[in-house]
């Protein structure tokens, strides 16, 4: 994508499919987040940067927000807020608390269930998310039966950030995590719900990592490396 276009709510987007593709089986327009159909036209419903994929006719708007709306398949960090017969209630930052079934853990059976206390932090994947039901999450991959990194997060520290920053951190190219990882060992779990869990060998280092991640939101790659270096030097 060469030209960057910032759209605001109400902007009409020209999503016309070019003539040679018209009528082909693939010529179906696919709208992602931030776009809505109003009558015959496609209009933006959120402010952000417009993206499109020519080949698949996909259009979407990337915008930053602070409130999470659950979507299927996304990794989230949540806090257990309650327990009832068949599962836990987990606060993942969305409008309604998510349900985490007791058996949705690796190796869990009716006899051998995990015992989470209220306040426990869990890393989980959203499996049910739609506008009419409460979200449901699980701490294992139900196809393989393996945890794949999901489960209770013990120790460490959890903090909140904007969803844009969380998405950036999870994209594996985040300069702040690479710069930190080159210098000090630490564990992290990033939820796209804007919650990040960090664990290191000492509380001082944890604070340093948390500060570095929070500072990195509006920095370029170069500025990020500089900021991390300065924080490590001050240690």
């Amino acid at each position: 994508m060469t030209d960057v276009r910032v759209v605001i709510p109400g902007d009409i987007i020209d999503t016309t499919i070019s003539a040679e593709d018209d009528g082909a089986e693939t010529a179906v327009l696919r709208l992602g987040p931030g776009l809505a159909q109003v009558g015959e036209e496609i209009s933006a419903s959120a402010a952000g940067v417009l993206h499109n994929k020519e080949e698949t006719h996909q259009w979407w708007v990337v915008s930053n927000r602070r409130r999470y709306v659950a979507a299927e398949g996304e990794p989230v960090v949540g806090v257990v807020v309650g327990r009832h017969g068949e599962g836990y209630r987990v606060d993942i930052g969305s409008a309604q608390d998510a349900l985490l079934p007791l058996l949705a853990f690796e190796g869990a059976t009716r006899r051998n269930k995990p015992n989470l206390t209220i306040g426990a932090v869990v890393y989980a994947r959203v499996v049910v998310a739609n506008s009419v039901m409460d979200p449901e999450i699980e701490c294992y991959n139900s196809n393989t039966g393996k945890s794949e990194g999901y489960g209770e997060l013990t120790g460490g520290f959890m903090f909140k950030c904007s969803l844009g920053l969380a998405r950036h951190l999870i994209s594996a190219k985040a300069p702040v995590l690479n710069a930190l990882g080159a210098q000090i060992p630490f564990e992290t779990a990033v939820g796209v719900n804007g919650r990040v869990w960090v664990n290191t060998e000492s509380p001082e280092t944890t604070v340093l990592v948390v500060n570095a991640i929070k500072n990195s939101e509006y920095l370029t790659v170069k500025q990020c490396k500089q900021m991390v270096r300065e924080l490590l030097d001050k240690r």
Binding site: V4, V6, I8, P9, G10, G34, A36, V38, S43, S45, A46, A47, G48, V49, V62, S63, N64, R65, R66, R67, V69, A95, Q96, S131, V132, G164, Y218, T220
Partner: protein, 226 residues
Amino acid sequence: MTRPDRREATQIRALHCALGQLSRVDGSAQFSLGDTSVLCGVYGPVDVKIYDEKLDRAHIEVKFRPDIGVPTTKDKWTESAVRQTFEQLILGQLHPRTLVQINIQVRQADGAVDAAAINAATMALVDAAIPLHSIVGAATCAVLESGAVVVDPTQEEVEQARSIHTLAFENKTTGSPAYVDSRGDFTMDEYNRCYDLCATSVERVLAFMRSAIESKVSKESKLSTT
């Protein structure tokens, strides 16, 4: 005719807008028209009380707090008028069984408070990325005792005015106003002059809003630095 602050009759005061100043809300905006300043914080979509729950759309709640004292009957009226405006604007069906709460706090009142409140609420909703049909901008006109129509009146002019008109428009070329509030005695001709003056002023407000949103998006997506 000269105005107390030496403005032209068709000239609005300096606009100022700051987004995301509050850290605990989902979206916030401060909007100023000269010395009138309004702060708005938006939560949403969040959990809703069973009593307010709507099965097919989001419940929209507006809280309007004046700069001095407790909300009066007039403030309650503004509250409900603003709510009706934004109920049309927010795509509430995308988030059924949730609440979108709009909290408006007047920081300094120097005329045209309702217009500033609507502008602040629009910007806060955009900051919170609540899905919207479009954005709205509002402007106020006053008809003075002399029959002269002035836009964006100060408190001094509001007190001398025969009638006050606040209108809001969407950023679309067609369509009727999204919000109309007229108080006092006025003729149809005076109303039409206010309507036209508000419409042209709102165009300026909307252009200002667009540039404020664009700079926020550019900062977040690091467009300016890469």
